[in-house]
């Protein structure tokens, strides 16, 4: 009788406790300023989206470059210089296109150019040009970078914070307080 009760209770406890899983609350979207803040990365932050992606060697690797402000500390800006470094043993640069934010959702044609040192560093220079507005503000999409995998492996693409720069329409620098790289896995 005691054994019967014991087995019954054990089965019940395992069933109930095993069923009521408490999931981890992990919010880590690079575009989420709260997530960046939780990781100790101050805003404004230069981030890539997605933070991790896995592609095969036959696929292209599309990486979005974003500027993320905190809701209560948004500063208007006009120009951005991004220096991005990538593992050239894994991927090669294919294309760079302006993001929707810097083009003001295709209403404006920005100044958008880049230089590539043919190794592992690309510098993007962009300036918001519009007939009505002098600057833009808020979190948004600066550029899309497309890479082609050349070998398998795992590495990171990241910003060089010392060289990255953001200015307003008076050429006053807006300090970039943090960066987040992106992990790429080539299979």
């Amino acid at each position: 009788m005691r054994g019967f009760y014991g087995h019954t209770i054990s089965l019940f406890v395992v069933t109930v406790f095993g069923s009521c899983t408490i999931y981890d609350k992990i919010f880590d979207n690079p575009v989420d300023f709260k997530a960046n803040e939780e990781q100790g990365i101050g805003a404004p932050t230069l981030v890539f989206y997605p933070k991790t992606q896995t592609v095969t060697q036959s696929d292209s690797l599309l990486l979005g470059s974003f500027i993320v402000f905190m809701e209560d500390s948004i500063e208007p800006f006009s120009g951005v210089h991004l220096q991005i470094q990538f593992p050239n043993n894994l991927v090669e640069l294919d294309t760079i296109v302006p993001g929707l934010f810097i083009t003001d959702t295709n209403k404006a044609t920005p100044l958008f150019t880049y230089t590539y040192n043919n190794e592992n560093t690309v510098d993007i220079y962009t300036y918001f040009l519009d007939t009505l507005k002098q600057d833009i503000s808020g979190t948004g999409h600066l550029a899309n970078l497309i890479f082609n995998p050349i070998s398998s492996g795992t590495d990171s693409i990241y910003y060089n914070l010392q060289e990255c720069e953001m200015i307003d329409h008076l050429d006053q620098e807006i300090v970039v307080n943090g960066i987040r790289g992106a992990e790429v896995i080539i299979e």
Partner: protein, 301 residues
């Protein structure tokens, strides 16, 4: 109690250990005629005198309904003692309930009118032992028990203890309550307790299932919102999905704790219900026989 037959026997006996020349009025209240009881008393107690009078109606009801059963019929007993000029009154009552027979014996002192000894026997299929049982009871009050009567009782009661089987057992009640709360209590004949246990356990189970369903839906909603949160690069959607996911996460934690607490309570209640069914489950009657008046407790007329 239906009294089919009422015998009044005036028994004058000479007792060695009890009291010399104490006299007894024996009243037999039977719901069915008991063949051979008169002859049995006359033959078994040949040194006593019996007078039978069936014209006297039933004198005693159920004494258990009184707050003080021992003194409930004091005046009637005293009156009877004066009327019949006896020291004690022996009341034997036999009642059949289905296949069970209840034999009750009461011994009253006519000087005080109080009940000084009582015995109750409740047995199944014991009709063929009634005459012998009455002889034993009358004899025990007079300290004239014969060994053959005790042997006959044992022969009837305990033919073979290994053959005794019980239709209902505490274990049967416990197992039934473990399957369905309250079933064991109902099986034991306690419908109020069965209803209470069933209601409590049903309520707890419904509350647990409800909490678990809420937990499950919150958890699924949380996972869905996290998936959408991870999949978007739109800051407004990110904030919206994060807010929803955080609410779902808090809900799923709360409902999880509630479900576990309710599960624990339900489990504890379920096991308690089964244990309760076992503790208060059907058991063989342990008061089927009370030994007659011992010499040390015999009344002194």
């Amino acid at each position: 109690m239906k009294s089919v037959s009422l015998f009044i026997a005036l028994l004058s006996c000479h007792l060695a250990a009890f009291e010399q020349n104490a006299t007894y009025l024996v009243l037999n209240h039977f719901d069915k005629p008991l063949v051979g009881i008169n002859e049995s008393l006359i033959n078994n107690f040949s040194n006593s005198t019996f007078n039978f009078d069936s014209s006297v109606d039933a004198l005693f009801g159920d004494i258990d309904k009184y707050n003080n059963p021992a003194s409930s019929y004091m005046n009637d007993i005293k009156d009877l003692g004066d009327t019949y000029n006896v020291n004690f009154i022996l009341l034997n009552r036999i009642e059949h309930r289905g296949d069970r027979v209840m034999i009750e014996g009461l011994l009253f002192n006519t000087r005080s009118g109080g009940l000084i000894h009582r015995r109750k026997i409740n047995l199944k299929n014991y009709d063929n032992g009634l005459v012998n049982e009455l002889s034993l009871w009358v004899a025990s009050t007079m300290n004239q028990i014969q060994k053959q009567w005790e042997n006959e009782r044992e022969a009837l009661m305990f033919l073979d203890s290994e053959d005794i089987t019980y239709d209902k057992t505490p274990m049967g009640a416990a197992l039934r309550s473990l399957v369905v709360p309250g079933w064991g209590q109902a099986y034991s004949g306690n419908s109020l307790s069965a209803g209470l246990w069933a209601t409590i356990q049903l309520s707890l189970s419904v509350a647990f299932i409800s909490s678990y369903n809420n937990y499950d839906s919150s958890a699924k909603s949380f996972l869905e919102n996290v998936k959408l949160y991870d999949a978007t690069d739109d800051e407004k959607e990110v904030e919206m999905y994060r807010t929803s996911a955080e609410k779902d996460w808090n809900d799923h934690v709360g409902y999880s704790k509630l479900a576990i607490a309710l599960a624990g309570t339900t489990l504890t209640g379920w096991v308690s219900n089964s244990i309760h069914a076992w503790v208060f489950g059907p058991r063989p009657f342990t008061n089927i026989y009370q030994k007659g008046i011992s010499q040390s407790t015999y009344p002194k007329g």
